[in-house]
Symmetry: C2
């Protein structure tokens, strides 16, 4: 059976839905640049190709999935708007994509969310609706909004349209740098890595696909080891975008197509952020810099799966960090 057909039958997304997503979203998204640094190549001992999703609209790859989901809606459905209860880059992406399509976006935000995230949503035209700071309250407020407005829920990762949108990164990256033999992306709920893996493996099954995960939120590594979704009791990492758990639609793809998961400490993430700033000259948030942290880690060097990796695509997945937060992390990292 060919890969395309297999993917269509087994998973919530596939190379076909990713190619459709590319056609659908390409008029709206940035084709982000790929860049490199000889200094970092020599530190890593391999060629590193950085896919700059920090330059994506909204400052993160999330806009691809949000755009695909929102432009997939039929007119009658779309006019009622969309709703989500993520407060991070996905919320900003949904707000922006909805604004482009000219429909309302209702964003449920817990009362204790950082002000900058609230501002981001408002700046992109999202309507902020407050909830209590529990997942239960967020979900019940979202349900209420859906009932009152008829808006469609756009989940941040556990949704085939989202996975397909994120997968367009692989199509672009492999077109920009065809010699890539390994791709590494952050993993949280698994939407990004699922799309990336589906597209990359369909284009060339020999490409290694790796996920990078913070040690303090290593549910994906634990899940891979256990062979089933594991949800740790406690999550503690500076990478605020990587605290979610795998969903039932992303898990099978991660299980089958992600070759390995590299876990890194927060201090390695902060050091990678600093390198992005001082060497690559690019602003990358903690969740976005984890791929570089993973490639430079001892764990990566010891892996058998990557021993022949010569051209590594690293997805710098987002750049939304405010300078104060970055500085505080650097200070606490250097004093620890």
């Amino acid at each position: 059976m060919d890969i395309e057909k297999l993917q269509n039958e087994k998973y919530a997304a596939s190379i076909s839905s990713i190619k459709e997503a590319q056609l659908r979203i390409s008029p709206h998204i940035h084709r982000t640049p790929v860049f490199s640094s000889e200094s970092l190549n020599s530190i890593a001992g391999r060629k590193l190709h950085f896919k700059g999703e920090c330059f994506q609209k909204g400052g993160a790859f999330k806009f691809r999935g949000a755009c695909n989901a929102i432009y997939s809606l039929g007119h009658d459905q779309a006019v009622k708007g969309v709703v989500t209860h993520s407060s991070g880059n996905h919320a900003a992406a949904v707000s922006l994509a909805a604004k482009l399509r000219g429909i309302p976006a209702y964003i449920i935000i817990p009362k204790n969310a950082p002000q900058c995230k609230v501002e981001n949503v408002k700046r992109y035209g999202g309507q902020v609706i407050w909830s209590e700071p529990t997942m239960q309250s967020r979900e019940s407020v979202a349900t209420k909004v859906q009932q009152e407005t008829g808006a469609v829920l756009v989940h941040p990762f556990n949704d085939g349209r989202i996975i397909s949108g994120q997968g367009t990164i692989s199509l672009e990256l492999l077109d920009q740098v065809p010699e890539i033999d390994t791709i590494i992306a952050p993993i949280s709920g698994g939407g990004l890595i699922s799309g990336v893996a589906l597209a990359a493996k369909a284009i060339n099954p020999a490409i290694k696909v790796l996920a990078a995960e913070p040690r303090g939120a290593d549910d994906a590594a634990q899940s891979k080891a256990a062979g089933e979704i594991v949800k740790p009791q406690k999550v503690d990492t500076i990478a605020d975008g990587l605290r979610a758990f795998l969903g039932d639609l992303t898990w099978p793809i991660v299980r089958d197509l992600v070759d390995d998961i590299i876990t890194v400490e927060d201090k390695e993430i902060v050091e990678a952020m600093r390198m992005c700033y001082e060497i690559l000259k690019v602003a990358v948030e903690p969740s976005g810099a984890i791929g570089l942290a993973a490639v430079l880690s001892d764990e990566f060097r010891k892996k058998t799966v990557t021993k022949d990796s010569a051209n590594i695509g690293i997805i710098l997945s987002g750049g939304n960090v405010d300078l104060g937060v970055l500085w505080d992390s650097l200070k606490s990292s250097s004093s620890s």
Copy 2:
């Protein structure tokens, strides 16, 4: 008389020497990306096209001029090496270009220079030679090195080969974004703006060329007003790359071809750096961010010369800043 001939007769560089420079250096330099932001366009009320020289090798445009000067040398001259007594981005650029050509670079550095600048030079293979922290000592040490080694002095700006190298930015930028009607670049010794103006005006004399200068080091603005080179007694600005005065080779070009000079306060420069980081996601040093500061200034909005400017090319000239310095500037700027 045509512009090319006029430039050849009147100035130390011309569109012909700039095109030669482009052929000479293009195998060695990065063709840097141009990017934009709808948020910044809407703040400025015009389309802004950012030329990312912070992504140039060595982290700044200086590599273009250094490369052109060093690859212009005949073999017999080149093998004896090059010497310079600038300690900033030019020193790093000369070190790197000399390393590429496989010749020695002697870099005179005053004993009180910041450690990071010394490290930069060493990282790129330059040989550090210490001087006392006075211009007199720097120059006498440089002369001594020239006499002992036969090395060629590569001046940071007052040199036709340097001006020609920097001018290649205009060739690239106008090829990347042909609709540009206005270009703004920082001014210090005048090497960058001279090259940029010579090339832009030769391609299209209607293009406006503006220089951005810190209020605390506004010798170029004073010189333009006086009609002759003025060297203020005191220089005080956060933009450490913009503290030099015009030279006798750059002044005539600035006098004749730069349409206007916009002066900005240090706090406007720091705010522009923050915008580069948080909106463009790019690390830009104070000297590199001044073009954006100028375009967003009240002075710019009031100028007659720019009232029809719709597509502005802004040269982000360098990205070499360490995070601690950036943070300290932001703190002192917000508390002042």
